[in-house]
Symmetry: C2
Subunit: 151 residues, 2 copies
DNA sequence: AATCTAAATGCAATTAAGTCGCATTAATAT
DNA sequence: ATATTAATGCGACTTAATTGCATTTAGATT
């Protein structure tokens, strides 16, 4: 009864308890921020958003991001500007992103035909016999932002 | 006769003259370095290699890279480590890279089936109707490096 | 060939993203 | 309630990249 109650409105505590990490204000806020964001967020985005709720230091944010990343709680993503961005790790595993250049909203994709085409292509390479990974990110304008760009 | 002679061993001057840029030692060396590199090179890689031939400053290298990039002489590439890398621009246009994580050697690819799969996939997106671009980079171990990684 | 001038360079200072050491604080096990 | 150890805050530092400014130089002009 009590356990059920706790679970329902404190879902963001799970990853911390699960990995025996101390439940601090900064970490709770960071998780909250990532869980509710429709965008991929940079360390600085996260720093700003966390600090609207609790006082936290950049070094703490960076260290927390590293900790969470190495535990698989969050994923790092490189887009095309060299800035690392973060998202809550997907249970689905391998996937890619479509990012709106207007508002930053992200749609997650994992498309079997594309993966198959990539696999076929990798067999045609001249200098490579082993492909270990790939990055694939798409950029576009989301339906909400299309009107703004029509102007 | 004279023109032919000049062309044969000074191909790297063409882009400079073509764009009415001054032909300096640093720029010649930078072009030479990029033209002969089987790898994508970071600004710092280029700085080091250029300075084996002529004395040049980092600021000069960065400015030259910007100039060349905006004129389409070279292309910028983001891999997965946040460092900008450069290559001589391909006349072929749109293409992707396969990068050896051992030695950095790059194979250039442009695969119609993959592009078609990406195109099909983009039509299935929920939040997007317009896709403007995509990045796709593959990582693997090249045939020369496979033996080293077997150890 | 000597001179002129805009373009390019070298140098130093600056910014931005991220990291690290260390003393202090605070979460949680006892 | 206390002890222990993880986590934090702060400041200094690193690395990639940018910028202002005085000097130099490529190449056009005479």
């Amino acid at each position: 009864m009590i356990a059920v109650h706790m679970e329902t409105h404190q879902l963001h505590l799970h990853p911390l308890k699960k990995h025996k990490l101390k439940v601090t204000k900064s970490r709770k806020a960071l998780l909250q921020v990532l869980e509710t964001s429709p965008q991929l967020l940079s360390a600085d985005d996260i720093f700003e958003k966390v600090n609207k709720h609790v006082a936290s230091d950049r070094a703490t944010i960076y260290r927390t991001l590293h900790t969470f990343e190495s535990l698989g709680i969050i994923d790092q993503v490189q887009l095309n500007d060299g800035l690392l961005r973060y998202e809550i790790a997907h249970e689905h595993g391998h996937h890619h992103h479509v990012v709106c250049t207007g508002c930053g909203v992200v749609e997650h994709i994992s498309d079997a035909p594309t993966e198959k085409a990539l696999h076929n292509m990798s067999k045609k390479l001249k200098q490579f016999s082993v492909i270990t990974e790939h990055t694939l990110e798409l950029f576009g304008i989301c339906k909400k932002c299309v009107p703004k760009h029509k102007v």
